[in-house]
């Protein structure tokens, strides 16, 4: 995973709540067996409308998505995160994220930032009035900054440390091999096994 320290970029204001993962990446894209090439599937249905915010010329090259509450609800598909990243997004800001989506994003180095709705409203207004306005997402300072706006955000220390260092979860876990083996040794014999009977 790539490390995330701080990022500055233009934004896409997405004034929609409950953006589910079927909207972020429709199911037929899930047939791919790779982690890349999902950018054209991002918000595929909405992008058919030329007026959809992502299609506006002034939004090209934007890297921060500012979305309504309950972003990423629905299925566990990590493809939703890959699609956002493949498209070029580095961070998503919302007042509330679905749990699985948030977990997936942090595992892939896509920073999901929770800010209260009034701050999200302020960011929408700013970036709608001035499409060139930049937003800085600073993970070291745990702060989002834009013209006239400074907002602190929370992220648990462990997740932050992994992101800042771009650490791979599996290697970290495997350092605890002895703990895993010890646990396995004392599992009761009645626990289910999948081996064919």
């Amino acid at each position: 995973m790539e490390a995330f320290t701080t990022h500055t970029g233009r934004a896409v204001p997405l004034r929609r709540s409950n953006v589910d993962t079927d909207q972020i990446i429709p199911a037929h894209w899930l047939k791919k067996v790779t982690r890349d090439g999902f950018e054209d599937g991002l918000f595929e249905a909405w992008r058919k409308d030329p007026e959809f915010v992502l299609n506006r010329p002034e939004r090209q090259g934007a890297t921060v998505l500012v979305a309504g509450p309950d972003f990423g609800t629905g299925s566990s598909r990590e493809h939703a995160v890959w699609a956002l990243q493949n498209y070029g997004f580095k961070a998503v800001i919302s007042s509330r994220f679905a749990d699985i989506f948030r977990g997936n994003s942090l595992k892939n180095g896509l920073l999901t930032v929770v800010l209260d709705q009034p701050t999200v409203d302020a960011l929408w207004e700013l970036t709608e009035t001035d499409p060139q306005a930049e937003i800085t997402v600073d993970l070291e300072a745990r702060e989002v900054r834009a013209q006239g706006i400074t907002a602190a955000f929370e992220l648990d220390e462990n997740a932050r440390w992994r992101l800042l260092n771009g650490l791979d979860d599996i290697s970290i876990t495997l350092q605890n091999e002895a703990d895993i083996a010890a646990y396995e040794a004392k599992r009761p014999s009645y626990k289910p096994r999948t081996l064919q009977v």
Partner: protein, 474 residues
């Protein structure tokens, strides 16, 4: 202080706990399917890792599989590649797989319980959000992303932050025509699609204790639709009776030891939940959705709500968008909504009881002209059982299509899809825009409402079928 059911199961699986770190949890059962696993196996290959516990891992094919002509090569080349990739991955790494055509094939969340692999007090994960289904057995079961699938394959553990717990107590008794599906739709409408976020829900109370395992699975299945991490129901005699004798259930002394442990899996009297919701079952009625998220639902006797009636601005906007997409107008009675398609199936309502209740209503009746009805059993075993009971005949005689097991129109990754603008009454779990096919419109319903709707051609409950079926008294 006492502990909740979720806390007990959690504590029993902590491999390592350290200050400032998420707990490292041991995973008892890892279910795989073709959609969310290929990139995980790729990751293993790249880092030269193996599957740590093949004996705790099992795979099936469900999302892409066709429900017609299953003996012919799969027409869609992309779907075919994904299934072939799973087969190759399982063969390379030694994972037990039930492919299309196998007697144990089916939707992953139907297969686990019916094999007896899903057991009380276990941790179950799958790269699929409806893994919450397995919580019906008192298992702690959650959907995970592909990175976590790889993590579990490599280590049989997951680092996880301890979730909060919410009790959903359902008092009273469900009225006769009200099902588990109506109950869970009403719960989601009440707490909202984000209401469960960060929580493990525990459903309890007299109305829950009365439910069969199938009905409990329907409830836990849709916990994710309330945003919850997982849903659970304490195991009891109903659970033990369901498990006894299944292929992977413990036997002999192991059975006794297991049951003794399972009986400890209830929230203590003095356990404290982080949140509590109380529902009166006796007030509920058949429930359907009118919008594009599962929280946008109402009793069948109600009308399409007026977006202007919502105080919250984002809810109002969501309702406006939903009505536009669904082609509905505020104030329209829900019963007047005509459908083109009825889908009975999915991991929410594709089990034998669901098929029995739909067939019970269709028996001696006909699917309305111009309505297409698809009945897709959740697994091959469910299909075989249904055939043994003659349910397939009932469906066919009514004019419904009897299909092969799989996810099918629940998400339309295979050819079973709605055409743009088509409207369905569906026993599945998601009414998102385009979920059942581009431009398709979905109303979530129970199997009973699905069957009555198929007969009348508009959203309806069995009570609306005033005339006796043609064969009555014969």
């Amino acid at each position: 202080m006492g502990r909740t059911l979720a806390e007990k199961v959690w504590d029993d699986h902590v491999v390592r706990r350290a200050e400032g770190e998420p707990d490292l949890l041991f995973i008892d059962l890892h279910l795989l399917h073709e959609v969310t696993s290929p990139q995980a196996f790729d990751g293993l290959r790249k880092s030269g890792r193996q599957v740590r516990r093949l004996d705790l891992t099992i795979a099936t094919e469900d999302h892409n599989t066709p429900t017609l002509d299953i003996d012919k090569p799969i027409a869609d080349p992309v779907s075919r590649v994904q299934l072939e990739t799973l087969r190759k991955n399982c063969a390379d790494f030694g994972v037990r797989l039930h492919p299309l055509g196998d007697v144990e094939q089916g939707v992953v969340h139907v297969v686990g319980p019916q094999l007896g692999l899903t057991q009380p007090g276990t941790t179950v994960v799958c790269g699929d959000s409806h893994t919450s289904t397995h919580g019906a057995f008192g298992a702690l079961a959650f959907g995970i992303g592909t990175s976590q699938v790889e993590h579990v394959l490599a280590t049989q553990t997951l680092p996880m932050a301890r979730p909060k717990t919410m009790a959903i107590t359902v008092d009273g008794e469900l009225p006769e025509d009200v099902t588990a599906k109506d109950l869970i739709l009403a719960i989601i409408a009440r707490i909202g699609t984000g209401g469960g976020q960060g929580y493990v829900l525990e459903y309890r109370g007299p109305a829950i204790e009365k439910l069969s395992m199938e009905a409990r699975m329907t409830i836990c299945n849709m916990s994710i639709e309330a945003g919850a991490r997982a849903g659970m129901i304490a195991p009891d005699e109903t659970t033990f009776a369901y498990l006894e004798g299944r292929a992977h259930a413990p036997e002999g002394e192991d059975w006794d030891a297991a049951v003794a442990y399972w009986k400890t899996l209830r929230s203590d009297e003095d356990a404290v939940f982080d949140a509590e919701v109380v529902i009166d079952a006796s007030e509920l009625a058949p429930f359907v959705t009118w919008g594009t998220n599962p929280g946008q639902g109402a009793p069948l006797s109600a009308s399409v709500p007026d977006p202007a009636s919502y105080e919250d601005a984002s809810e109002r906007l969501a309702a406006e968008n939903a009505l536009k997409y669904m082609g509905l107008t505020a104030g329209q009675p829900l019963r007047d909504i005509k459908v083109d398609t009825v889908f009975v199936g999915s991991c929410t309502n594709g089990r034998i009881e669901d098929l029995r209740s739909a067939a019970g209503i269709l028996d001696g009746r006909k699917v309305a002209d111009g309505v297409r009805m698809l009945v897709v059993p959740g697994s091959v075993r469910v299909a075989l059982q249904a055939v043994e009971e003659g349910l397939d005949k009932v469906f066919k005689e009514a004019g419904a299509e009897w299909r092969h097991a799989g996810c099918s129109m629940c998400l339309g990754m295979n050819p079973d899809q709605l055409a743009p603008g088509e409207r369905s009454a569906s026993t599945s779990n998601r009414n998102f825009e385009g979920r059942q096919g581009k431009g398709g419109r979905t109303h979530l319903v129970s199997p009973q409402v699905a069957a009555a709707t198929a007969v009348l051609g508009h959203l309806a409950s069995p009570a609306d079928l005033s005339e006796a079926p043609a064969t009555a008294g014969v």
